[in-house]
Symmetry: C3
Subunit: 348 residues, 3 copies
């Protein structure tokens, strides 16, 4: 059950350079990405129309991709432009091409009706390539239903437990009630932790100040493309952060986390964690990214274990608790959007 | 198809010490065992009521177990005693706790109706912790239906073939007809091999005498908990062992082998092999245990291969031969007991 | 869907020497091959009639095979000749024996009605053990439906792509239209490439001449046993090879490739590649075999990837192109032969 008429992050731009043929399954469909000689990225069904050999074992030729089993060649639009030994390719040899747009260092792919693939719908992720922010584009794979990964993002109470020694550090996170706003196409969550005794463990060694902290996580999670965009940070307590005044030594971050379903039980995870201070310090950028990745590995361990239990026992009968409101709202909105899309598709 | 209203061996006591959270599947159910700070062992469903994360990734706190995903905490009875950020936990957050009793260095768990969990029904295994016998508690895992493991135990003719160079050593074992007695809740098998030319291979290097041997295997196999308890030994031939007189140099053993179904196709195997001579000789105890384990590895190789064949081709059409009487009797009694239990459960 | 009433290559003779018990699945049936002490090879169901233990874990005794679980022994005809502790084996203990004939260094097995197992139907493979040809009997395993492997053999256009740097070397192969003849029980394919600029890459370092080449691949593919037998070679261009005159420096080969279905999705591949020049040069024979194997590894990579795609998406909707005529003809003939066989079997 996936939303189809939206842009999904299919790859980081740097994964599709030179002669690389990137095979990646998205919403259960095998896709091959490659960079055209003329620039830009193409995405084709990773299956030759002839005998179903994967095109990711093929060869890029100019802007085209040749199947290296029997030599059929396809252009970036999926049209079969060459069949060895024949002047004109045989009928019904064209394959599916997917609309693709490269933006924010990401390759976005449209998995639904191509006629509706409007680039204006690509989620804004300006902090990825802003010169005023520094980050490292990163990828992880989760052996879990994308909705379990989204659940995790929609309830930060887990920071007090899963990430007690990394991204969390305090029980306050689990005890606070976040503000939850329903948006047109997603959910906004606002969390403030005022007067925490110290910075979170993942900032140890890169502190810009000591002592009590006002900390925040303010983020939006979009239905379309499962995009999580967060403004977060820590400022010396009482210096006005909740009122929008940021002390010079405050540590301010923007993070993008995008969960692209691989199939019903596996997910791609594209993420970055950007800082806007000490911008030229590449070691800092790397250390911060490594620390955050350590936290995400903790998430993955828990979520994959949860997925295994659910695979065995089903997911009915889960208890609803007060933390679940954002997650529950998002799931309801998602199910409704998917149902609407399927009704529209059925109606023609 | 399992008998449920009985005590199964769930763990050795030493597997559940300190902070250990032992995840083990029994009769297809995921269970987590842990030792309470106040002593005694608890067994809970290894699945948080909230989002189905495994509690075996959790943290023991006193006598309780906390889920380390979102922090719900359960007492040893499965009651949710804490939900972060709420004074009283949400409804329907309790989980299943299993009756557990620790005896004979084993943790026994009751998988059926808790109201019927009478500790008096725990199988007697006094040789495990008797000061007059020495043994090493051991565990193996079999990728096989527990009934195939029981079959193996119920027909010792295999000692002449599977264990020709270890536990067996003579074709006599396969040629003798054991005495088989049907008991109330199981089967007793009596095997005497009189005047065998020498001790079995697994006793090489630890012989207490040389020359012809009167050897015996007398054991009971219970339906409840799949418990095998054996008196066995080797005495100098003609010194009266069959009449109950044990020569001082006789080698006398007691063995416990318990097969706890993990699921339909996997089994836990708890065992020990005790001797009552040379009690202070820990090297002897270890060598004997290692030798017996070598034999059990031979069994496992054969039984797992047999399981694979059956998984592919089914198990109908097996030929019945004269060895099969004990095994066949036990299987019939087991099927009948399971059917009765299921009828009772259906009747309410 | 397999043809059953035919001889399949089950093993190379050298795989069944001494005490070896070769377990191999053929047409989805588990079989154990062994060499009788009196010579000749036996093939039995690899499953004891008693408790379904695999006989390949057993022990050869003379011309018989003993199950090493409980000791039943079977002769080469599958008759149970010994049950320990009983004078006459119990009823219904016999197992299936398969007709087997050893010829051309191969062990041929008949998977259908034994009454029809006529050794005269064994495919002729004289080049395997001819003193005038040198080759190395070789085996590979393919994780693919045997028909996908046959497809590969029936369309050599793939040499220009899969084997561009090994067995192929020129786009001519893909551009030429082969001559295709329907035979009684298979297909003959004739391919001539006249005036190619140079020898194929796999012959680099073992050339017997330089300069332009007349090259050919003339082969028959039989339905029965999936046997591919090829006459191929390269001669100096214009020296009369197409007319049957072979220049002394021509490089002439015979190859056998036999695809025995392991099950619906796996195949055994028995092959050799023989040369008739420089016969005493074992290093040449080895180098040639290694080069060809390198090409077959390329095939395997492609075919196994193709199999994975088909396993996921099915195989309907493949485009038919002009290369496919031989493959398509063979598939039609095979389907028809299988259907006929099944009708006959159903009719009794």
């Amino acid at each position: 059950m996936f939303l189809r008429n939206c842009w999904y992050a299919g790859a980081w731009s740097h994964e599709v350079e030179g002669e690389a043929l990137l095979a990646r399954k998205i919403l259960g469909e095998r896709i091959v990405f490659y960079r055209k000689q003329s620039g830009g990225v193409a995405a084709l069904t990773d299956r030759c129309s002839h005998r179903f050999a994967p095109l990711s074992l093929g060869r890029r030729e100019g802007d085209c991709l040749r199947c290296m089993y029997h030599g059929l060649m396809f252009d970036a639009g999926g049209v079969c432009v060459e069949e060895p030994g024949r002047k004109v390719p045989s009928p019904r040899t064209d394959i599916r091409a997917y609309p693709v747009v490269e933006r924010w260092k990401l390759v976005w792919i449209w998995m639904g009706d191509p006629a509706r693939a409007d680039p204006a719908l690509i989620p804004p992720c300006p902090y990825i390539d802003s010169p005023e922010w520094a980050c490292i584009p990163a990828y992880m794979h989760f052996k879990a239903d994308y909705r379990l990964v989204m659940d995790n993002l929609l309830d930060f109470s887990h920071l007090s437990f899963v990430h007690a020694n990394t991204l969390g550090g305090s029980n306050t996170i689990a005890e606070i009630r976040p503000k939850i706003d329903q948006l047109e196409g997603g959910v906004r969550i606002t969390r403030w932790y005022l007067g925490e005794p110290e910075l979170a463990p993942y900032l140890k060694g890169i502190e810009r100040f000591r002592g009590p902290v006002d900390r925040w996580n303010i983020y939006e999670v979009a239905l379309a493309g499962c995009v999580f965009e967060m403004d977060s940070g820590s400022a010396p307590a009482g210096t006005g952060a909740p009122d929008g005044r940021l002390a010079p030594e405050a540590m301010h971050f923007h993070s993008i986390q995008i969960v692209t379903p691989e199939d019903e039980r596996n997910s791609h995870y594209f993420w970055m964690y950007a800082h806007n201070f000490d911008l030229q310090n590449a070691a800092l950028t790397k250390m911060l990214s490594d620390r955050v990745e350590g936290g995400f590995v903790e998430d993955r361990t828990m979520i994959e274990a949860q997925q295994q239990v659910i695979a065995e026992t089903g997911d009915s009968g889960m208890a609803y608790i007060h933390f679940d409101n954002a997650m529950s709202l998002y799931r309801r909105m998602l199910s409704k959007a998917i149902a609407q899309e399927q009704e529209q598709a059925a109606a023609g």
